[in-house]
Symmetry: C2
Subunit: 351 residues, 2 copies
DNA sequence: TACGATAATGCAACCGATTTCAAATTGGGT
DNA sequence: ACCCAATTTGAAATCGGTTGCATTATCGTA
């Protein structure tokens, strides 16, 4: 079960390995007769050139590293899928690097990021894309910063939906603020004035931007957000349940809730259902992200699409250009989109 | 910006590359003083050995190929996460190969599988794991079969939750029939007699096994499933809506529905909600798979957990053993588990 | 028939590591 | 001071391809 090499093919075809290589890559003319003889042998032995050897001398591997925080978070597979379709089309293969870390583990997420970046460099990837959105990307680990800097100096490095001001990285990101503006305006146009904003982590840049958008849209309508209706630090379904329960127990209570992501919105739906509050009749709920499930909740969730797949697609396209040493803008902005479904409705007059 | 190699280190340390390699891999004793001199240089230049060159001669890459049908299907990321945690622990990196294919594309899923397998072999992966569960894995493409056979001959190849009787592959799979028995028994114990079974694709082996489990559990209770309540060929939310709407329009209608996967069950929830039928008071609904969202639907979905993460974990562990040429059982069975939540309840007497 | 141009091919270096085998160094014991 | 064994080290082959340069074969034309 010896693996066959170019030498084996060359010997049996009575040519030099150089010629075999030429028909393999179509890199120089080869006499028709010779070419056919070699092709036949390649077919006969199902010969496949060893990508390691090839990459070693070519100094390009066609491999990319894709780093993300947690594949079971439903938003990320959408981005990944968009990336996958495009990257595949361009002939890249990618390593998936999930940096998810439980408390029991030795390494935290930053250390794992550093470790993966280092590993990817060793593997000689042609480029790296890192998907942000973790809790405290805003005050990251210095060791990780150094690793990113070093990597970015050596290979194309692209940051998705995150920011790392310490390093001048190329980025692709949705306009978070605009998304929040869209969501808030939708609620305002439905006549809501008493709007809560829940979810997110105050330390996260995306949360800050979304909140900024919320405030700015409110202000444009001459409204001042109420402090007690701004409940932060939580991005999970459970957090959504908790925040919303608290909100519903208040007096006065909001007529609409802007949830900073869909998971929180789903929690809100749940809490409303438990409290016997009908959505959207008595309470409008809007999410953010447009994860797949938003279309399947009951009622179906009105939300803001971050265009996850588009981010991924654009990432692949951009990284490819960077690898090809073409010029790309430092920041590519993707426009979010309002998706109106069933969980929002006009405010009841005299509620 | 020249990349530094063992030669550079060797020259500056006044030793041969052999010695550098020795301290790199700790593969032979090196005099303390020399070792320190070399280590210092490695540190100074942030030297990282080129994995391509190393793998080329070692004939092992630490790379694995992971093939799956569609990363946006919520079941798969769970499996992948389980695999990831374990594989990472053992020092493997993996290529993610998503074979999802739209009708507009040139290649169908089989062709893409073949293509990926071939690519992975070229990249010299140490092993391949393929996650089944596609529509017609039961009557696959001959070209794909050949490719799998060829690959399995050359590297460890593991099939997850699928079957390919044509090739004698090692497999890890949940006991699908048992899961269906568990679900059906749960319904029976709640007093239900009029049970429908909807969803799945008749041509898929997992559907056949689940249906088999359903029938067998019914028979054990002396019950005969009704043909008109067995609605197949659909695994999506939409299909679930459709099937359930039809069911609810029938007379008599079932008091409980066994959905062959969670997406269909969510569709069922939706249809019931639309029809004004309360779940679980008037209708019990049980799903299958236990995707993450099952815990977040309203009402929360009772379902059967396939132990997705466990399958993944076991896959990594098993593949590792295969790579190490250790003996592993041809089939590793994972036991499913009933997860009782809110969408099922005792049948109403005199309904 | 001879010549220069062009098409085909081969030789050998190279990519960046690991590893075998032999040589050089070191050290202990007498 | 000398010898043998144990410890360190280096030279060179190797993994499996690609590619620049030189050489040979082929062909149209003068």
């Amino acid at each position: 079960m010896k693996t066959v090499t170019v030498y084996d093919i060359a010997r049996e075809a009575n040519v030099s390995v150089a010629t075999v290589s030429r028909v393999l890559n179509n890199t120089a003319p080869v006499k028709k007769e010779t070419r056919e003889r070699i092709s036949a042998l390649i077919e006969k032995y199902q010969f496949q050139p060893n990508a390691l050897a090839r990459s070693l001398i070519r100094k390009e591997t066609g491999m990319i590293g894709f780093i993300l925080p947690d594949i079971t978070n439903p938003f990320f597979p959408e981005v990944l899928a968009g990336f996958d379709r495009e990257a595949r089309k361009m002939g890249y293969t990618y390593f998936l690097c999930d940096t998810f870390s439980t408390n029991e583990e030795t390494l935290n997420q930053y250390e794992r990021e550093s470790q993966y970046i280092s590993l990817l460099m060793e593997k000689q990837v042609d480029g790296i894309v890192m998907l942000g959105g973790r809790i405290d990307l805003s005050r990251p680990d210095p060791q990780m910063i150094r690793e990113v800097e070093e990597a970015a100096r050596r290979v194309p490095f692209l940051l998705l939906n995150g920011s790392l001001p310490q390093v001048g990285l190329n980025r692709v990101a949705t306009d978070q603020k605009l998304g929040a503006v869209l969501a808030t305006q939708h609620l305002l146009e439905l006549g809501h004035r008493d709007i809560a904003a829940v979810g997110g982590y105050s330390a996260m840049s995306n949360t800050q931007q979304r909140l900024q958008g919320f405030r700015s849209a409110m202000r444009e309508h001459g409204l001042q957000p109420r402090k007690e209706w701004m409940l932060q630090d939580g991005f999970s379904v459970e957090a959504g349940v908790e925040f919303t329960s608290r909100l519903l127990a208040m007096n006065p209570r909001p007529t609409a809730i802007f949830c900073l992501n869909d998971l929180v919105a789903i929690g809100a739906l749940k809490a409303a259902s438990r409290a016997g509050v009908r959505v959207p009749e008595e309470l409008s709920i809007i999410g953010y992200d447009d994860i797949q499930f938003a279309a399947n909740s009951i009622p179906e969730l009105t939300t803001v699409s971050l265009k996850a797949a588009e981010i991924g697609r654009l990432a692949a396209e951009t990284l490819h250009r960077m690898i090809g040493k073409k010029k790309v803008p430092k920041l590519l902005s993707v426009l979010p989109e309002l998706v109106v479904r069933q969980s929002t409705a006009a405010v009841r007059k005299g509620g």
